[in-house]
């Protein structure tokens, strides 16, 4: 049964581009969003109908002003209060309150008093503003940034379905139920939403709060509580903002936005609301007979409910025309205003301002629009025709401001591209938006190749082919690097590489361009490529040979083996001795091919090849992952120029090379850099075997590599999202905690350093102490929220006394009670410049001799050497100067090994 459910979830997940677990978590929120939108689309027609029918159109501007005042203030107050509540409780309690108040509204509507309709109008407006925000608030808190990109689209789609269903329901049952009873239907929908949210994933912040609650009693300083509170509150925002690629855009863009964005939005909204007001008034001013004919129930008054029966009725064109204009114009204005939220400004700024823009600005603009209508119609007695012209003037003003804002935006975006401040891996701008394409196009015409390349790198993230024409024009660019990059981008769709570009690029002066062109062409027309490649293989021009080999490599393996017979390969091998370009191309070909015939030949080539050829072979090996090339790759780790490539290639082999890499790390005869590269390859291999190997190695075996191992584990967590066993990580932390306490005890018990050697030992201890602190934070980040831990680390290291205490409190609050008991004293005992910390307590050796014994036997080879050298100079610690110096030197030399010249 369970597996059946999983199967279903997997299939459904694939359908919407989500993992099964994500779909299961997202579904309640999708249903909740659909329910809320359905409720809104049931309520709003009922509200409009009741108000227009019972109160009358003349008072519509007044209620709009009331909505602006009450809505703006409520939204502000609500957003302030909301930060004090746990998200899940806030959302569920608020929605329950809304559902029950809707039932109350239904009862009050029975009173048939005018103020009830005013209150109901305002309440429905508030409901519309707050309820959707609440669902999104939950969604934001329940999913991290990476999940949000996939899940939010589905949630939004749920909303659309809800809106459609709500509209259909209202259209079908309004006449039957009556407008007043639609309110009860909406209340039931909201109650259903609360039920759905009961199955939704709890917001991440809530989980942290529960963790904090258990240890609140240990809070020592008020400042710490404040820090934790702030930390908790802003954590979600900070996570979205930290390392945001467009952080640096904030100042220039926001300057523009602050100056013009808010005003623009306001102007756009006023224009929109003016038009809406004109439309509603126009509709309401339709001949009374028409309105009477729609029946006594107010629900029938809403044009959305009764549009079909009204078609062809006299007076309708008057009502329908401005309404249609309002609808279309409103949509276009809304679309433009929403574009503001797609600006490449920091996520945090967006989130902070979105609620304000959506609620306060919106309602204020509505109120202002109503006031303007009142002023011109009641004060100046202008007709609605003049008001319509005025609306157009407002719209023109909005367009003018939008153009200015756009100019500021374009300028900021261009500068960001010029200075390469946009991190491509974290780019969140929709590259497929036409407006973004318009921004990038001028950069492609820049006379700075660096900028053009950067813009091309940006375009690589676009999923549509909207850039193809612009990129194709760069195929004739004087810089080969740009031609190459443009070709790489277009190569994914070889059909776009038509004549005359094909011929031009096949004869390009740059061999890589030729090779790329041949590869792209081979996908489109293999027969033509075969013919051309066989011809080019015999060419005197080495660039033609390189291109031919690349073209053949893109063909199926069997075809390739037939074409590249031993005779041809012999000739190529002979030519490769004189030409590195041919050698590199052939080596790449053979290594990526990895057939027995190729491997036998490549071992001959690699025996005496240049760096260029070896690098090409490494790239090929990374693709084929041929076991026969492993030994050669391992030997490359000891060669400086080949190390990085070999490390990356070995990492791509994954789990099968873990044992081999372990052996390299343990091999003391290998250069330190090669052993460190093996650690890095393990970390990059993204396998659980590698993770186990690194964890087992931490604090065991030969010392000196712990920083690299920790860095590798941290990379596994950050880049590959791997989870870590808490027990092992806690053990490693406890090891470092003890180390910190021993360092503190040593520095306290030894006399002040008096000579160069003891000063060096003291400095080495201090450095070790800082390193151990850092390592504890890295380890904490492996099992807790890494971003939050990183922030705590920054506060701990750089903050003043209060901030440092607050950071410590945060750490204590995220770990369990037992861990906190030993971790806090250890971190407190760590040195901090200018801070006087408490004495270390606990069972540690107290005498200088015992403490020095710990260091002369330390796993860390450098600290051991420093301790050995310093021991004879420290009274009561013992040691013969000459013997100690010799031991220290031997220890260092053993550690440095091949590094010594």
């Amino acid at each position: 049964m369970r597996s059946g459910e999983s199967e279903w979830a997997s299939r459904a997940g694939r359908l919407v581009g989500l993992e099964a677990s994500e779909l299961r978590r997202a579904l309640p929120i999708v249903l909740a969003h659909a329910g809320i939108l359905a409720a809104i689309y049931v309520l709003k027609p009922a509200r409009n109908a009741l108000f227009l029918d019972q109160v009358g159109v003349a008072k519509l501007p007044f209620v709009l002003v009331l909505v602006a005042v009450v809505g703006g203030l409520t939204a502000l107050a609500y957003s302030r209060q909301s930060t004090r509540w746990r998200t899940d409780r806030l959302v569920q309690a608020s929605l329950l309150l809304m559902a029950s108040s809707l039932v109350g509204c239904r009862l009050l509507l029975g009173l048939d008093s005018e103020w009830v309709y005013f209150a109901f109008f305002v309440w429905v407006q508030l409901f519309g503003l707050l309820s959707t925000s609440l669902v999104w608030l939950w969604a934001n808190a329940a999913f991290d940034a990476r999940e949000a990109r996939r899940v939010f689209g589905l949630i939004a789609t749920g909303g659309i379905f809800g809106a459609i269903l709500g509209g259909l329901f209202t259209g079908a049952f309004a006449g039957l139920l009556g407008a007043r009873n639609l309110v009860v239907v909406a209340a039931a929908l909201v109650a259903g939403v609360v039920f759905c949210l009961g199955f939704a994933p709890p917001p991440i912040a809530s989980a942290r709060k529960r963790a904090l609650r258990g240890s609140r009693g240990r809070t020592r300083a008020r400042a710490a509580v404040d820090f934790v509170g702030r930390e908790r509150g802003v954590d979600r925002l900070r996570r979205g903002v930290r390392g945001h690629p467009l952080q640096r855009l904030r100042r220039p863009v926001l300057r523009g936005c602050r100056r013009q964005g808010g005003l623009l939005r306001l102007v756009l909204r006023v224009g929109q609301r003016l038009l809406a007001a004109v439309s509603d008034l126009g509709h309401a001013l339709a001949p009374p007979a028409d309105r009477r004919r729609r029946g006594s129930d107010g629900a029938a008054d809403d044009p959305r409910l009764r549009l079909r029966p009204l078609l062809g009725v006299g007076g309708l064109p008057f009502a329908a025309t401005p309404k249609a204009a309002d609808g279309s114009f409103r949509h276009s204005i809304h679309k433009s205003a929403t574009e503001l939220l797609f600006l490449p400004i920091p996520e945090r700024t967006k989130r902070r301002n979105k609620l304000f823009i959506d609620t306060t600005v919106d309602t204020t603009a509505t109120g202002l629009g109503a006031l303007v209508v009142l002023f011109f119609t009641e004060g100046l007695r202008w007709s609605y025709t003049i008001l319509a012209w005025l609306t157009l003037a407002f719209a023109l003003g909005g367009i003018f401001l939008a153009r200015r804002l756009r100019a500021a935006y374009v300028d900021a975006f261009r500068r960001a591209i010029e200075s390469r401040r946009i991190d491509l891996t974290k780019l969140t701008v929709g590259l497929d938006e036409a407006s973004v394409r318009d921004l990038l196009r001028p950069v492609l015409r820049s006379d700075q190749p660096r900028q053009v390349l950067y813009a091309l790198d940006l375009m690589a993230g676009a999923s549509s082919r909207g850039f193809d024409d612009d990129v194709r024009s760069l195929l004739g660019h004087p810089a080969a690097s740009i031609r190459r990059r443009a070709l790489e981008l277009l190569g994914t769709d070889p059909k776009s590489l038509t004549e005359p570009w094909r011929s031009t690029l096949l004869a390009d002066e740059d061999p890589d361009v030729r090779a790329l062109m041949m590869t792209a062409w081979a996908r489109l027309d293999p027969d033509a490529v075969i013919e051309r490649s066989l011809e080019d293989l015999e060419s005197e021009d080495e660039r033609a040979v390189v291109g031919a080999l690349a073209g053949l490599l893109a063909l199926p393996k069997s075809t390739r083996e037939d074409l590249l017979d031993d005779e041809r390969l012999d000739r190529l091998e002979a030519r490769s001795r004189a030409s590195d370009a041919i050698g590199a191309s052939l080596a790449y070909h053979l290594a990526s091919d990895a057939s027995p015939r190729s491997l036998a030949r490549i071992s001959r080539i690699l025996g005496s090849c240049s760096g260029e050829v070896a690098i090409a072979a490494i790239r090929g090996a990374a693709e084929s992952r041929a076991p026969e090339l492993l030994d050669w790759l391992v030997s490359c780790l000891s060669k400086r120029g080949l190390r990085t490539g070999a490390r990356r290639a070995l990492a791509r082999y994954g789990a099968p090379v873990v044992g081999l890499l372990d052996a390299i790390i343990d091999d003391g005869t290998k250069p330190i850099a090669a052993r460190k590269a093996a650690i890095r390859a393990l970390a990059d291999s993204e396998s659980s075997e590698a993770q186990r190997s690194l964890l087992a190695r931490l604090d065991h075996g030969a010392g000196g590599f712990d920083p690299e191992i920790l860095e590798g584990l941290n990379r596994m967590r950050r880049r590959h999202g791997m989870a870590f066993p808490a027990v092992e990580v806690t053990n490693a932390m406890s090891h470092r905690a003890r180390e910190l306490r021993v360092i503190r005890a040593t520095r306290k018990s030894l006399p002040p350093p008096s000579c160069d050697t003891t000063l060096l030992f003291d400095r080495a201890l201090e450095e070790k102490s800082y390193r151990s602190q850092d390592e504890i934070f890295v380890l904490l980040g492996l099992i807790h929220d890494p971003k939050a831990i990183e922030d705590a680390q920054v506060h701990f290291r750089r903050g003043d006394r209060v901030t440092r205490a607050a950071a410590l409190e945060y750490v204590v609050n995220v770990v369990d009670v037992v861990t906190a008991q030993w971790l806090l004293p250890a971190l407190e005992a760590a040195p901090a410049r200018g801070l006087d910390v408490d004495d270390v307590s606990g069972s540690l050796p107290s005498g200088p001799r015992e403490l020095m014994d710990i260091w002369v036997r330390a796993r860390d080879p450098w600290l051991r050497a420093c301790a050995l050298a310093a021991a004879p100079r420290i009274p009561a610690s013992g040691g013969d100067p000459s013997t100690s110096a010799a031991l220290a030197e031997a220890s260092v030399r053993e550690w440095l090994g091949e590094e010594l010249r």
């Binding site: 030197e889 590094e899 010249r901």
Partner: protein, 142 residues
């Protein structure tokens, strides 16, 4: 013949190495070779290619342009440091004032150490940034 630890003790006094961890300085010490010059022996001439930096262990070295002395480097003082980072020719000549022992760090070896040990690079960059900031402060408040 000095031990690695002794070399590290000297190297930590060099300005550009002030932010490099002592453990990482051991890598630099491993490539530092001891050299000895007699009195008045020319170490390098003006406009010679820059290929190494020196750290005086004992003795004194005069840095001069023609006959005009620019400065003198005594024990624990370094000269020719920038040779590690660029290949501009020497701006001054160096001559031993008396019998002098020094550590020589060759540029090519040093670049190899940087390539293999990113933390050494990190420490050097930190020192350089601090120096630049200090210069910036001087420019702003002369």
């Amino acid at each position: 013949m000095r031990t690695i630890i002794e070399k590290v003790i000297f190297l930590q006094n060099v300005d550009v190495f002030s932010h490099v961890l002592t453990e990482q300085l051991a890598y630099v010490a491993a490539i530092a070779e001891e050299v000895v010059w007699d009195r008045d022996q020319k170490i390098y001439a003006e406009d010679d290619p820059s290929d190494a930096m020196y750290l005086v262990l004992e003795g004194r070295v005069r840095l001069h342009r023609g006959e005009q002395t620019v400065t003198e480097a005594g024990p624990k003082e370094a000269f020719g440091t920038w040779a590690l980072f660029d290949d501009e020719p020497r701006v001054a000549a160096a001559t031993a004032v008396e019998r002098t022992e020094a550590l020589r760090v060759a540029r090519s070896d040093f670049l190899d150490v940087l390539a293999d040990n990113v933390r050494v690079t990190e420490g050097i960059l930190k020192a350089m940034v601090r120096r630049l900031r200090a210069l910036g402060r001087v420019v702003r408040n002369p």
